[in-house]
């Protein structure tokens, strides 16, 4: 497969995943704003949302006021924000358009249809749009695209590159979400596991549609340790770090098999998976959750860089 084709498929998948994360954050932020909060009103929480996407600074530069309406605009519609739903879905569609013939008709229809609807939303008067509807629309659109992809696309190398894109992005997003909760909401290490921040942790579960998964998987009271286990180490939960890494390892193994040669990409990915398999929540808390997540994100990024070098640049490793 042409390296550039693989690259477009990979980025298409990453942007779809990214759009979904932004919508999830926006939804959680909006919901949070409805709750009474002792620690400084809604303001802090919105800042947390922006921090999670790494866009607090450009936001403050453009809008002086951190209010809900501005944040909704910024996260959903603003094309100046590279991770807004609008920017991500446009980029996903542009990537798809370039390699249209590498996609099945249902996949293209789903992506192109989402883009046309998004433009319709863009033209709609803002007062007629509920933020929860926008978020739900985004999740539905992304799930439709992925569903079409999973159920119609040929299981060839293009399928694997797209799968690698989805899971690398998702691993990064989950790590970021956990980190922000930790970093912003638990300024002192002593708070971890203290139970003080219950509602915040619950919100984190909510942002990943994980409440039910949590209840199915764990007994007893909700603790930070259990939540951390679900989101980081539980291979059954489809957004956990380990599940994502395991997933891209499988895709990379498929590539190694069909190309009949393994590369540095398989090596770094499997090393990361082995370490996650061996890890325990206790060790993670001991190292420091933030430190652990920072280390994970940089190793996940290393996998991305290696995939780029080995497969997407078109030169032999």
């Amino acid at each position: 497969m042409l390296s550039r084709t693989a690259e477009h498929l990979y980025w298409m998948a990453r942007y779809i995943e990214r759009a979904e994360t932004t919508a999830r954050l926006l939804e959680v932020g909006a919901r949070n704003a409805l709750l009474p909060n002792a620690t400084g009103g809604y303001r802090n929480d919105w800042e947390a949302v922006l921090l999670a996407k790494g866009t607090l600074e450009p936001f403050v530069e453009k809008y002086t006021d951190i209010n809900q309406r501005n944040i909704e605009t910024w996260l959903f519609f603003d094309s100046d924000n590279p991770s807004s739903v609008y920017s991500c879905l446009s980029a996903a569609r542009e990537n798809a358009r370039v390699v249209r013939t590498a996609l099945t008709a249902p996949v293209w229809d789903a992506i192109n249809g989402a883009f046309q609807e998004l433009q319709q939303l863009h033209r709609t008067e803002r007062s007629k749009l509920m933020v929860t509807d926008l978020c739900e629309w985004t999740l539905r659109a992304c799930q439709l695209i992925r569903g079409a992809f999973t159920s119609t696309q040929l299981r060839n190398d293009g399928y694997d590159f797209s799968g690698i894109g989805t899971t690398i992005e998702r691993a990064d997003n989950t790590a970021r979400l956990i980190d922000v909760k930790y970093y912003v909401l638990l300024p002192s290490v002593n708070y971890v596991g203290s139970g003080l921040d219950q509602s915040q942790w619950a919100l984190l579960l909510q942002s990943m549609t994980a409440q039910r998964a949590f209840n199915w998987s764990y007994q007893g009271e909700v603790t930070a340790a259990k939540i951390a286990h679900l989101l980081i180490l539980n291979h059954r939960f489809p957004r956990s770090l380990r599940a994502c890494v395991q997933w891209y390892c499988e895709h990379l193994d498929n590539l190694a098999e069909s190309y009949q040669t393994a590369t540095a990409a398989q090596e770094v990915a499997h090393k990361l998976l082995d370490d996650l398999r061996a890890a325990t929540v206790e060790e993670i808390f001991e190292e420091g959750l933030h430190e652990f997540l920072a280390r994970f994100m940089s190793r996940n990024a290393e996998v991305a860089t290696t995939v780029q070098e080995v497969y997407l640049s078109g030169m032999p490793a």
């Binding site: 497969m1 042409l2 550039r4 358009r97 078109g314």
Partner: protein, 474 residues
């Protein structure tokens, strides 16, 4: 030139009678309720939009993904009419290729005094880097698009030749797909020759000109300027149909004696490049140094026989409007045959006598720029007011070499759907001739239609539409 307005040939009618080739269609049209028609029309548009056949015009702004209007009323050719066009177009494609092989080699036709040397060597499209190089099978132009117009039951004229990278063939294929999907009954009742062999034939043609150094199955690619190009849809469509890679310049590189493409499994050798970018951009080392679209070093691999480029660099010299007048001469010179298809009589403003005539008769003539295309920079005398004609005359006087003139032909018209029902609209025809080991033509082509009443300009950039083109079986 006669001053009286010539009668327009309506392809459906013979006097008051409906010609037999159109009888099925006429019945079909009469029995179609108005609601069904508008339903089908919007269905067609939705299909086009969904498969993504769009067309953008550079510099016009607006919607970059706009649709070319599709008219549902097909244009029909009888088997007998087609036989003549088929022979005529293939003859022309053969002569044009013989001419190209000659002007980059011994230049016999110039030595024989049939074509003035300066018209060839001073031509912008004449490629010095191609001199002395014989591409595989001596073929320079592998896809020749011949634009034809009709003025009467038996009168066809060649308006121009396109030897570089004629576009529009994806419309020929998609128009047919959509018509078959929407009106299957029509196809059961008529005997219409299929066109869907085009992609297979194109692949066979490209494979047949693989370089000598190529062992085994040649690796064919289509080289596109990228997805911002107005014809990108066509590039990806053809790549998909042929099952070959669609590459951009950045996907290719030169190493050793070959061209390679960057794949997820490492470099893979490329043997045949069907390029859809202009000569000037294919190799920044050889032509425009600022080109980001091409592949540095491509020309030297080409010249050493490591890769075939289709069409060959320099093929454009044969389709220039100034060379056009000499095509009948080429046919006689190289093939020893009489031309089957006629040229439109053409006055060359470069010749003082011709120029004088043109300036005196501007209101009756169509004047074109020698290197222009797309219907831009031309004057349609009978449709222009006095001041437009005067300012155009000034341009001709200033630079006569840049213009040619032709009589305003009474282009044939074909029934076309309009608000009130059907009405005749002017059409032209572009068949696509494939030249490799053999010279072949699928039975059909792209019919373009000027949708505005009375208009003669069929270019899609100027409000033209397209129609399905039927060739009836014997």
């Amino acid at each position: 030139m006669s001053a009286t307005k010539p009668a327009i040939f309506n392809e459906m009618l013979n006097g008051e009678q409906v010609r037999s080739a159109y009888q099925n269609l006429e019945k079909w049209y009469r029995s179609m309720p108005a609601e069904l028609r508008s339903l089908k029309q919007s269905e067609a548009e939705a299909l086009f939009r969904r498969v993504g056949i769009t067309f953008a015009v550079y510099g016009e702004g607006g919607d970059p993904e706009r649709l070319i209007p599709f008219d549902m009323f097909p244009r029909v050719m009888t088997a007998e009419e087609w036989r003549k066009l088929d022979r005529g177009v293939r003859q022309r494609a053969a002569a044009l290729n013989a001419f190209l092989a000659d002007v980059y080699d011994r230049r016999e036709i110039i030595r024989a005094g049939k074509i003035p040397e300066h018209l060839v060597t001073n031509n912008e499209a004449f490629e010095k880097a191609a001199i002395g190089f014989r591409p595989p099978r001596g073929v320079f132009s592998h896809i020749v698009g011949v634009d034809l117009v009709r003025t009467g039951p038996d009168q066809f004229y060649v308006l121009e030749d396109n030897c570089r990278t004629p576009s529009g063939v994806s419309y020929m294929l998609q128009n047919r797909e959509i018509m078959m999907r929407m009106f299957p009954q029509l196809f059961m009742e008529s005997r219409i020759r299929p066109v869907d062999g085009y992609a297979g034939l194109l692949k066979k043609t490209l494979a047949s000109v693989a370089p000598q150094k190529c062992q085994g199955e040649p690796n064919i690619v289509i080289l596109t300027p990228g997805h911002f190009n107005s014809a990108y849809y066509e590039h990806s469509f053809l790549a998909d149909l042929m099952g070959v890679e669609l590459v951009e310049g950045q996907d290719l590189f030169v190493e050793g004696d070959f061209v390679w493409m960057k794949t997820t499994e490492g470099p893979k050798k490329v043997d045949v490049i069907y390029r859809r970018i202009d000569d000037a951009f294919i190799d920044p080392l050889c032509f425009r140094p600022d080109s980001m679209l091409g592949v540095p070093g491509l020309m030297s691999v080409y010249r050493s026989g490591g890769v075939t480029i289709c069409s060959a660099p320099g093929a454009g010299v044969a389709d220039d409007k100034a060379i056009y007048t000499f095509v009948p001469e080429m046919i006689r010179f190289y093939l020893g045959e009489e031309p089957i298809l006629e040229n439109v009589p053409t006055w060359q403003c470069a010749k003082p006598d011709d120029c004088k005539y043109v300036l005196e008769n501007l209101s009756e003539l169509v004047v074109k720029e020698v290197h222009g295309s797309g219907g831009y920079g031309m004057l349609v005398g009978p449709k222009s007011d006095k001041s437009t004609i005067e300012s155009f005359a000034a341009k001709i006087r200033k630079n006569p070499d840049n213009y040619i003139a032709q009589p305003t032909l009474a282009l044939s018209a074909c029934p076309t759907f309009v608000e009130e029902g059907i009405a005749p609209r002017h059409v032209d025809l572009r068949p696509y001739c494939l030249v490799g080991e053999t010279i072949e033509l699928v039975p059909g082509g792209l019919t373009r239609v000027a949708l505005t009443e009375g208009s003669l300009v069929v270019n899609s950039s100027q409000g033209g539409g397209v129609k399905d083109t039927w060739v009836l079986a014997e």
